[in-house]
């Protein structure tokens, strides 16, 4: 988890291997505030918002609403090859500090367009 920083996982396409376990990738995707794409072991993909994961049950699973909002779809860990961070990170760049900076720039006639909000 990249906490308290402006760094984002957006665009990352992790390879699961000896340095990075599937469980770690799933945890990062669960914490990610954007859509991801689940690549399954059969080669099919599902894009959407991964809102739940449970590693503490006999058959660990994730749950996802797809990109149209349909779902939830449940996928066992055993059917997942990796997860790509394909969607926009909705939390990135929206910090209080960033808003203050934009506001100061507005006040001093800086380049930021007026009325802009952290979307």
């Amino acid at each position: 988890m990249i906490e308290g920083s402006e760094k984002s996982l957006q665009g990352w396409e992790p390879e699961v291997g000896s340095d990075l376990s599937l469980e770690q990738v799933i945890d990062l995707a669960f914490d990610y505030r954007g859509n991801t794409t689940v690549v399954k072991t059969d080669g099919t993909e599902l894009s959407g918002y991964l809102f739940n994961r449970n590693p503490d049950v006999p058959q660990p699973f994730i749950q996802i609403f797809d990109a149209s909002g349909a779902g939830p779809f449940t996928i066992p860990y055993s059917e997942i090859r990796t997860i790509k961070f394909t969607g926009r990170d909705t939390a990135a760049g929206n910090s209080y500090a960033a808003w203050r900076k934009r506001r100061e720039e507005e006040k001093t006639g800086g380049a930021t367009p007026s009325g802009e909000l952290p979307a």
Binding site: G34, N35, Y49, N52, R53, Q63, A91, Y96, A97, W99
Partner: protein, 340 residues
């Protein structure tokens, strides 16, 4: 304290019933989130950072009512997103008040006037608009990242009061809050005529975009001690005086994470309103299968270390009031003297 007697009685009899029934973990306030959409984008808010398809979705009234039934808590708080943007908010509130649930509709009040004029709500002792107000004009507009919101909210409050609704305010305090300015804010809210105020320190969500301006424990205690020292008799707080004493550092409490369970389109949030470690399919699953020992100060969980937020600790205070003579006596004394 400004909680009406009928509400206090409902909560007291509920707590006693749970105790007599031998129920160890029972909820007091259901945090019901019918949607995540909001017409503001406050920097401290982790509730609105979702992709578009999630922000477009909302729960049905029927799903909300099932959750209320399952959970059984006497109070239902409807935070957000912004509940006034929920298309069925009028029907939801009507159904809940008909079930004699005390509803706290937590709103930024931007749409309040419009909804009242459209006749969406009827005044009831069971319905309270809990308006988000983080301080005086300058501080509030800063906190919600938009100018003019304080004035809109104040107008909404006045309109609701004029129409006979119960109105309280809810205030989250962040790093840099000035005790003096907050005391002026309490006066301003009392001048507006609100029934009571609720206060809570902010919590640094692990998923929230901003981690810099939240308050750690010592600073929280200092701020609340200074802010609430020699309180004016006219200040009314719509919350447990024992919880305020806890915020001032006069009491040491452990968290009751199941006290304010949260339900939204993802399910029952584990373990609490603040942390999102997964979702349970049913309330029973939440209560029975959450590893509660992993949470609270004693657990050593770093996410819980500095937490003093109302949704974890107010239930502990209320529990003490209604299950111990000392807690009851201390609550009565604080209520009568007006001194937390």
């Amino acid at each position: 304290m400004s909680v009406p007697v009928s509400q206090m009685w409902a909560v007291a009899s509920y707590v006693v019933k749970q105790r007599l029934g031998g129920r160890r973990r029972y909820p007091l306030v259901l945090m019901l989130e019918p949607l995540f959409r909001c017409n503001l984008a406050c920097a401290g808010c982790g509730k609105i950072q979702y992709p578009a398809q999630i922000l477009r979705k909302h729960l049905t009234v029927e799903a909300c009512l099932r959750a209320v039934e399952e959970c059984g808590a006497p109070i239902v708080s409807i935070p957000g997103g912004e509940p006034l943007m929920y298309p069925d908010i009028g029907r939801l509130v009507e159904e809940l008040t008909a079930r004699k649930k005390y509803v706290y509709l937590c709103t930024n009040a931007i749409l309040l006037r419009e909804k009242l004029e459209a006749g969406v709500f009827k005044p009831s002792k069971y319905l309270t608009f809990s308006v988000h107000m983080d301080g005086l004009r300058e501080e509030h507009d800063e906190s919600v990242c938009r100018e003019g919101v304080y004035d809109e909210a104040a107008e909404g409050i006045q309109e609701a009061l004029r129409r006979g609704f119960r109105v309280t305010t809810n205030t989250t305090l962040f790093e840099g809050a000035s005790p003096l300015r907050m005391r002026e804010f309490f006066d301003a809210m009392m001048d507006l005529g609100v029934e009571g105020m609720t206060l809570s320190p902010g919590y640094s969500y692990s998923k929230a975009p901003d981690q810099d301006h939240f308050l750690p424990t010592r600073k929280t205690q200092e701020l609340f001690s200074r802010m609430l020292a020699n309180p004016k008799r006219r200040w009314k707080f719509n919350q447990s005086p024992l919880f305020l004493q806890f915020l001032m550092g006069k009491r040491d409490y452990e968290c009751t994470p199941w006290g304010n369970p949260t339900f939204n389109m993802f399910g029952w949030q584990r373990p609490c309103y603040l942390l999102q470690e997964g979702y349970a399919e049913s309330f029973q699953d939440l209560i029975e299968n959450t590893r509660w020992e992993r949470y609270g100060k004693k657990s050593g969980n770093p996410k819980c270390r500095d937490c003093m937020v109302h949704c974890g600790f107010e239930a502990t205070a209320v529990h003490e009031t209604f299950t111990s003579w000392k807690g009851f006596r201390d609550t009565v004394v604080a209520t009568v003297t007006g001194k937390p």
